[in-house]
Every structure is written in structure tokens, then in C-alpha cells.
Symmetry: C2
Subunit: 243 residues, 2 copies
């Protein structure tokens, strides 16, 4: 793990971009809760955490179809809805109507933020432009922002790039939207592969550890790639950036 403490960088970086699933939001607990809320009253008794894991497990393969050019870009909401069919079948959940499936699928719009996020974003907002750089579509990002008071300056990410991370164009489109050079931007993420892809396009990188992202003890506790900062909370990042 490399960590660079470079005061000049703070002057140079004007925008902070954020991964959202896992980094800002605890999607596993939230999706487990959402699945239980819809399915338990119908008599299903599942391991709700395992259900959330399985649904998220279908995420990267679905994105890869688009990234590899085998499928035209489509919003993550569509992919979540499609993947839900796979996961319901795997868990033996049958007989659901389309309304319930929609409600379940839009559970991804009702994720809760990790506890350090509101204070961290509020402090960082004073000095930096803030935007999500997520594979989630704009409407999903707006719902999460309204639920959790994320103070975004704009919604960037997959929808404006029409492709998914870690494809280079997604990082470059975000910087371009703010009229910034990539090295005036920094990605904050809990995932080393995302940070490595951002740095390959000359963005700065901050690793935010989410050790329980995929359940207790199942998350990156430290970056496995070179980064500019490695922190345990968004408040710690604000402190390191002097804001």
C-alpha cells in the first residue's frame, strides 16, 4: 500500500468523484432488508444476505456484456431487473407479480449510506466539486441522493459515458463534463480495480476501506494498488485533505 501525502495535490484536485455501491452505500444490508420486506410477507424464508450477495454476483457479468460490446449500453436498472429473474429462480421464489418484481428491483434506489458519509461529503463539498462516478443510472443516483442527502454538484458516471466502469471513457467523460484535466480529479472508491483504472487515465485515487461491504469481514481493508490516499472513513479523507 502506497500512500502519498502531497499538499500540492490538494490545491490541484478540484473534483472528487465517488463510487457509490459499496463505497458510499451499504448495498448488502439494504438489499437484504428490501428483499425481506417484499418476500417475507409472501411466506418466503430466505437467507436475505445470501440473496443480496447472489443478486450482486450477477452484476459484473451483466456489465461485461456491454463493456465487451456484445450488447448496447442500457441503464443499470434494466440489468438489475433482468438479473432479479435469475436470482429469484435460483432461490426458488416463484409466483411473484410484476409489481413486486419492480418494487424489489427498485430496492437499489433505497440503499442507505455508511454512517461516515453525510459528515464527510458535507465537509468535502466546501472545497471540492462532488459527483458520483457510478455504474448506476442517473435516476438511481438521484433517489439515493435524496434519501441520503448526498450534496452532488452533478450526476456523472455511466449514463453520461454510455458505458460502464472500468472502461476508460467513463472516467474521462466525468472529468470532461467538469472541464477538468483528469489529474485535477480524484476517484474515491472501496475497490482497487476501480482505482487502478482511474489512475491509468491520470485521475488521482483515494481508497476508502469498507471491510464489511460483502458481509462481516468481507471487503477490502486496504488497497492492493498504488493510491494517493488510503482512509477508513470519508471524514478521515476530509481531514487528510485539510477541509
Amino acid at each position: 500500500m502506497l500512500e502519498k501525502w502531497d499538499l500540492r495535490m490538494t490545491d490541484q484536485v478540484k473534483a472528487l468523484f465517488y463510487d457509490v455501491f459499496g463505497t458510499l452505500t451499504d448495498f448488502r444490508s439494504s438489499i437484504a432488508r428490501e428483499a425481506e420486506a417484499v418476500l417475507k410477507p409472501k411466506g418466503f424464508a430466505l437467507d436475505w444476505g445470501a440473496f443480496a450477495d447472489a443478486w450482486r454476483g450477477e452484476y459484473q457479468p451483466a456489465l461485461e456484456e456491454v463493456r465487451a460490446g456484445r450488447r448496447a449500453y442500457c441503464k443499470l436498472d434494466i440489468l438489475h431487473r433482468e438479473n432479479l429473474e435469475t436470482v429469484l429462480q435460483r432461490f426458488g421464489v416463484t409466483g411473484l407479480g410484476e409489481d413486486d418484481k419492480q418494487t424489489l428491483s427498485l430496492g437499489w434506489h433505497r440503499l442507505d449510506a455508511w454512517p461516515d458519509v453525510p459528515e464527510g461529503l458535507a465537509r468535502l463539498k466546501k472545497t471540492f466539486w462532488l459527483a458520483p462516478l457510478s455504474n448506476g443510472n442517473i435516476s438511481l443516483m438521484v433517489d439515493l441522493a435524496r434519501r441520503n442527502n448526498f450534496p452532488w454538484d452533478a450526476i456523472l458516471g455511466a449514463d453520461i459515458a454510455q458505458d460502464f466502469k472500468p472502461k476508460p471513457r467513463v472516467y474521462l467523460a466525468a472529468a470532461a463534463a467538469f472541464d477538468l484535466r483528469p489529474d485535477e480529479c480524484m476517484l474515491v472508491a472501496a475497490h482497487s480495480n476501480d482505482l487502478a483504472a482511474a489512475r491509468a487515465q491520470d485521475l488521482h485515487a483515494a481508497h476508502l476501506a469498507r471491510p464489511n461491504e460483502h458481509g462481516p469481514g468481507r471487503g477490502e481493508i486496504a488497497p492492493s494498488v498504488p493510491v494517493d490516499y488510503a482512509v477508513k472513513s470519508l471524514v478521515e479523507l476530509a481531514e487528510k485533505l485539510g477541509v
Copy 2:
């Protein structure tokens, strides 16, 4: 002037889109002030309002080059900077350095809102998703939002459509970004041609009178096309929408 008072519409409309130059911001006074701030210390004594009018006068012809397909889409910042050359020459302003020209051109990022806007947007935000639907680029919209506390949910408009109003795709791209049908959206604007173009794509339309947009008594006091609402302030629109 038609005015429709349809309570069901309020339930149906989920997003309010806003024209920004003229409708939310007093660009004429602001640009006059910005021009004076840069040029007066250098000994130039111009009619600053006329300078602002002339600069704005170059706006539609420049946009038309892109809309007509004679030029690839480029951000409004670029067009403002190009048009500045024309206007400086016309007013006999010579000898400016690039730094001063940049400062002048970015004066469009420092426009002030009309007085009713902060309260109006704050009230409307509770019920509706809000986004600018402007020909200004994303970074320009962010600077205006930070200066005037515009509480946007996302920045929509020309940059995400890669074209300029009143081309249909700009209105449709905004609705699509929010996953809404056009008739679930309403454009708020001080300009009848903008509202007519929005309605042609099935968006709702609210005319917000800015009778002094181009100087005292030079602005639309009422719409010249059918609209859903016609109001004198954003606060009045909030009241009519019952929020």
C-alpha cells in the same frame, strides 16, 4: 394566453426543468457588471448594458451553426469565448490579454439569480425533481448553482444531449435521464419559443415572466403560445402547484 389549472397534472408531473439564462438568472445586469469590472480599470468606458446585449445577440447565431449540423457540438463556454472577440471588436476594445478575455468569458459562470428564485426552488424541491435544461454546459451550470444555491438533483441540458434547444432531442434527453415520460416533466421558461418546443415533445410548460430580461421593459410579460401555467415568479408557481 391559455392557462390550465389541472390538479391531476400536479400529481402527474414529477420533474421540473428550467431554462437558466433569463429565466432563473439576470444575465444582462450580471454580464454588464462583469464587463465593467474587467474593462473599466483598463480605461474603457462603454455602455455596459449594450455590451451585454451585443454579446447575448451573438448567442443564437452561434448555436444555430450547431443545431443546423454545420458544426459539431461544442460547449457554450467555447461559443461565448468566440463571440467575445466579435463583440470586443465591435466596441473598439483592443489590447486585452488572454487572461482578461478568459475572465470576461467566464463571467457567464457568475450570473446572479432573480430574487424570487431561491425561495421558489427550495419549495419546489420538496415535491419535484429539479434540473436545469439549459444550453449552458455542465460546469457553467455547477458554478451558477454554487453561487446561487440552486438545489439541482442533476444537471441536464445541452451537454447530455450534445445539441442545443430548441432541438427536440434536448428536451427528450432530459426526460429520459430521469426515466420519465415527457408528459411527466414540465419546462419552466421565460421564452415562448422554448416552451412551444417543449410542448411539441409532450412536456408540460410553465411561462415565468421576466419583463426586464433584456433591460427595463424588454422581456416577455406573457406567453405567446399555449402553456399550462403562466406566472410572475417562481414562488407563484410553487403556490399554484400547491407546494
